[in-house]
């Protein structure tokens, strides 16, 4: 916008304002009506949806699903779409940071004096695209639960061998299934394919010690299971044994 356009806008705006109405009581009445609607919706939601409290937080338990509040779903979905590990920081912080910077600077790079949405095709299209994308990601996120079971045949060699390894394998399968790993990993047919890599054949890529190390000292965003290792080492070992048999 150059100086002439700025002055033109201010002139036009002064006229519009002259032809307008005083804030009190005209705008205040509308604002008040809207505030009443907002208050009523909050009260109704509180009455009908309540404020349930889940089970108590327990760093050592294994039944949880790391689910954020619904308006963060789109971020979590973004994590899933961008899979390669070296791109994960880009998805988690990079994209939101870039979006925020773009948002902050919007008035400084959009210098077009036009204000009508239908005459700003690029801005309007971009705006609608962002709304649709966020809506889609939120919808996807709302439908992706954290499955809590693993439908996987126990390998015949293990069954034949029997003994403590078989037992550990079965326990480990339970622990993994209940630990919310599948919010981020796919194992066989179950779970979400991302943001973490598939674990279906993890043993071909990582030796047992490395798996155990990953669980205690993982790369973000995966949570650490050190607390489980300290409080219930048998469960933790079972989990590692299970994973180290997946090939």
């Amino acid at each position: 916008m150059n100086q002439r356009e700025k002055e033109r806008y201010l002139r036009e705006y002064a006229l519009l304002k002259q032809e307008g109405k005083p804030f009190f009581p005209y705008a205040v009445a509308k604002d008040g009506a809207m505030a009443a609607v907002v208050m009523l919706s909050i009260i109704l939601m509180s009455l009908f949806l309540g404020a349930e409290l889940g089970p108590k937080a327990d760093p050592t338990t294994t039944t949880y699903s790391p689910r954020p509040e619904w308006y963060f779903f789109f971020l979590f979905e973004l994590l899933k779409i961008i899979k390669p590990a070296n791109l994960v920081p880009l998805a988690t912080i990079g994209i939101p940071t870039i979006c925020m910077i773009l948002l902050f600077l919007l008035p400084f790079y959009d210098r077009n004096p036009e204000r009508r949405p239908e005459r700003r095709p690029i801005a309007t299209t971009a705006g609608i695209f962002v709304i649709l994308a966020m809506g889609y990601l939120t919808y996807e996120g709302a439908h992706a639960g954290a499955p809590t079971q693993i439908d996987m045949e126990t390998p015949t060699t293990l069954v034949a061998a029997g003994g403590p390894v078989l037992e550990q394998f079965e326990t480990g399968k339970q622990v993994v299934a209940q630990s919310g790993c599948q919010a981020c990993h796919i194992i066989g047919e179950n779970g979400n394919d991302g943001p973490g890599p598939p674990l279906t054949d993890i043993a071909t890529r990582l030796p047992k010690q490395a798996i155990s190390r990953t669980l205690v000292n993982p790369t973000a965003p995966m949570p650490s299971y050190k607390a489980l290792q300290e409080s219930e080492p048998e469960k933790f070992d079972a989990m590692v044994t299970f994973l180290s048999q997946l090939k």
Partner: protein, 266 residues
């Protein structure tokens, strides 16, 4: 949307008092009460000159064509106020104690305190409502081109408010300290940690150290109920000051009457 027209009834004679005739000194208790109210206001005004500001704020004109979309900002503010009030009541019972006290105190609020679950529910769902309203308000200002000259700075303040609103819900989510909130927050903090440059420092700051521990919860609590609300209140104040100073935009398709048309009307 129908145009909102306020009725303008004739004011009853009682409310439209005539000045007393000079010389007559009859004053009833009502007159004294009215006089006391006026002089109290005058007393404050003499020392603050606040009435000018109030008049400037309330009797400024809003431009022609202002419609219901323009209520989204004030309803966001209303949701913020509702969060503040319900939050104060929750804070009267809440204990940021990671060893179990936090969870217990929320359970106590839900089960024992009079209207406790209701207020807790209002705070919980109010956060969703506020996030929705903030996004709608932002969409309105975006599609109406309201971020353009001379309101650029107000847009920038708005984006800061958007980030703070999201930060509020992130820090608040941990406070009940149930399984959901605990694990979701761990993942959230870890995600912060993957960020470039400041990422690791940010997540260390949030956790109050390299491990997710007892002080993490009180840190989240302090951020959630002191740091961010204070910053938001100040920024909303600045936002509103600029709204009043610059005036709100007219919808972009509204044109001022041309001088010719104005003469015809007259």
């Amino acid at each position: 949307m129908p145009k909102l027209k306020l009725p303008a009834p004739p004011i009853p004679a009682k409310l439209n008092p005539r000045p007393a005739r000079p010389g007559s000194t009859k004053t009833g208790p009502l007159d004294v009460a009215a006089e006391a109210g006026i002089s109290a206001v005058d007393w404050v005004d003499e020392r603050t000159s606040i009435s000018g500001a109030a008049r400037w704020m309330m009797f400024r004109k809003v431009p022609k064509g202002t419609n219901w979309f323009y209520t989204l900002g004030s309803s966001t503010m209303f949701a913020f106020l509702s969060q503040a009030v319900t939050g104060v009541f929750l804070a009267m019972y809440y204990r940021p104690d990671a060893a179990g006290g936090a969870y217990e105190s929320i359970r106590y609020i839900n089960n024992e305190v009079f209207l406790g679950e209701f207020v807790h529910g209002m705070h919980k769902w109010g956060s969703s409502v506020m996030v929705i309203l903030v996004f709608l308000h932002m969409a309105r200002t975006f599609f109406f081109g309201a971020y353009k000259y001379p309101r650029e700075l107000n847009w920038v303040i708005g984006v800061a408010l958007l980030i703070l609103t999201m930060a509020m819900s992130f820090t608040g989510y941990l406070l009940p300290f149930d399984q959901r909130s605990y694990w979701a927050t761990i993942v959230g903090v870890n995600i912060n940690g993957t960020g470039p440059l400041v990422g690791p420092y940010l997540s260390d700051f949030l956790r109050a150290g390299p491990e997710f521990g007892a002080t993490t919860l009180s840190r989240f609590y302090a951020i959630h109920m002191l740091l961010i609300p204070g910053a938001m209140a100040a920024l909303i104040g600045a936002h509103l000051y600029m709204v009043a100073k610059l005036g709100t935009t007219a919808p972009p398709w509204i044109k001022a009457d041309s001088p010719v048309k104005k003469e015809e009307k007259a």
